[in-house]
Symmetry: C2
Subunit: 336 residues, 2 copies
């Protein structure tokens, strides 16, 4: 490995001078700069980040801690995050918590040890508070995306669950539905709570009496919708829903799969709508009506806020960025 010492020797200057050339810091005569730069090129010198991190206490590495990169929502988040990080001269570490608190906790320790400068995180749930406290204790800045955590005041980039829910439900109501089921995510995740709250509020506003029997909480990523769907289908005609509002893309897809297995046609017998597009490549075979969140921007903005914190340019008060969803109406909710 080529070090500044090798350069220094060959250029007949001190290592410090080389360091100054590399970092463009301090005063350097044009002559020495050129001489040193020439040798740097010649020997193919690349600075050693470990040594730099050790003295500077910054690694230029950020971490993206999400639940699962294979969820297209987070795929796009990751892409946005990586683009912004690259643009700002940072590298990005990828971690998948799978919505598991322990995995998240393991990663947090690993990340601290790795010396990341900051963490962009979609927390597994409210219990992530413990892991965030660990970050705080270690003075590692973080920004939350998609989900908030009770009792943690920090920079946020989140969607607008209320308006997304509202537009989806109003669309269903306009289509003539009044018995609308909610298959929600876990109650310990803020987005699920917000969507549920919005669900009841909007039904009330529309003069529709909500029925607790029609709502349920399941995982955002494990496939356990089947039982719930079966239950809904086996309700007596008078109570059986004609539409399902799935809290995310994954639930929606599994719901549709279950419905098909049960010979319930979508949308003819059952409309389905959800949050977040399951299709990473836009506009191919579009089927699901949904509230598309600007996932790329979640990542992009998140990294932007994070770097502001890392570099200490952020405002004193925490920033809350709320990105509105876009409602896309497609076949899964259209009465033929």
């Amino acid at each position: 490995m080529v070090t500044i010492y090798d350069i220094a020797k060959k250029a007949n200057v001190s290592p410090m001078t080389v360091s100054r050339v590399v970092n463009n810091s301090g005063k350097i005569s044009e002559k020495t700069r050129e001489k040193v730069e020439k040798i740097i090129k010649e020997l193919n010198y690349i600075p050693n980040n470990a040594a730099r991190s050790l003295t500077l206490k910054q690694s230029k590495i950020l971490s993206l801690l999400i639940t699962d990169i294979t969820n297209p929502f987070y795929t796009k988040v990751a892409r946005g995050a990586e683009d912004k990080a690259k643009q700002m001269g940072y590298r990005l570490l990828l971690s998948n918590s799978d919505e598991s608190l322990e995995k998240e906790s393991e990663y947090v320790d690993m990340l601290i040890s790795s010396g990341v400068d900051g963490v962009l995180m979609a927390p597994a749930g409210d219990e992530s508070k413990k892991n965030l406290k660990t970050l705080i204790k270690n003075k590692i800045p973080f920004v939350l995306i998609d989900r908030q955590v009770n009792g943690i005041d920090c920079d946020l980039v989140i969607g607008d669950s209320y308006h997304g829910t509202r537009q989806l439900l109003e669309h269903l109501i306009k289509q003539g539905h009044s018995k609308i089921a909610l298959i929600n995510g876990p109650a310990n995740i803020s987005t699920a709570r917000e969507r549920e709250k919005a669900y009841f509020e909007i039904l009330r506003l529309a003069g529709i009496e909500a029925n607790k029997q029609l709502t349920s909480n399941i995982s955002y990523r494990q496939n356990d919708s089947h039982k719930v769907v079966k239950n809904l289908i086996s309700l007596p005609e008078s109570k059986r829903p004609t539409a399902i509002f799935a809290a995310n893309n994954f639930i929606a897809i599994n719901t549709i799969k279950s419905l098909r297995q049960l010979n319930v046609r979508v949308p003819e017998d059952m409309a389905v709508v959800c949050f977040d597009d399951p299709d990473p490549i836009p506009d191919f075979n579009p089927f699901l009506t949904l509230a598309a969140q600007p996932a790329y921007n979640f990542g992009y903005m998140g990294i932007q806020l994070l770097i502001e914190r890392v570099e200490g340019n952020g405002p004193a008060e925490k920033q809350r960025v709320i990105l509105p969803p876009e409602i896309i109406i497609r076949n899964s909710s259209m009465r033929k």
Copy 2:
């Protein structure tokens, strides 16, 4: 930040003893080990990776350098890679080259500087040789996935383009197609070359005279299929293809979009098949007939080979892992 010196002082031992406890190396009496471990917990000590990297010359960070995480193929690769890396105690850096040689080159420099222990890479093309040489010069082990590079002898995890192509084409031929167009990726990417070679070979074996007019090379990820599709469609009836073999998922989707714009129905007027599933969530609205490659395993195996190299446990000769595709026949190629 808590260091081994803090622990040492509080435990009344030398820093070296603490280091030994942390790393479970050397001989330590049970008594001291317990004493030190207690204080480590108490002070919440987490080792500083920068310092460790500096002495040990290894960072426990690997890099995944792919073309685009939003391509579902690479999304799954990334997930497999991250899972294996985590399991082996490594962290994973994510980089998207967008099939651009310069971006790839920038990343390679960044990665070397970051001190990654190894790189798992889907090279942008044959010209990536230059970037790989940089890695070699810096003694950074790497493994290539999905694509080979002429003139670089290294560990590989690749698919089987020949058999995938063969099965797809035989399926089309069995469906009665004889005028089959190939919309291929760039000729400087090994997978494209292999698929083209297989295409001609298999047509020949089937006694079908191949027509150069029916083959073309476009980007694997930019949407520039439209002109090509238009040309194919405007061929005289006698020459116009009845099926299109798209070299990857992205091309296939854009091809179908173009066909729809041109009012050509798929599969009624035109069958379409391709490599790689564009759908990250399995079995939802499946439409495309394709050769599905075990993307997750590309990443998983790739990291496994890479870590073998990094840790010096690998065999002397380079390893070539070839993962066969699975043909999935769906609607896009079925004559109704």
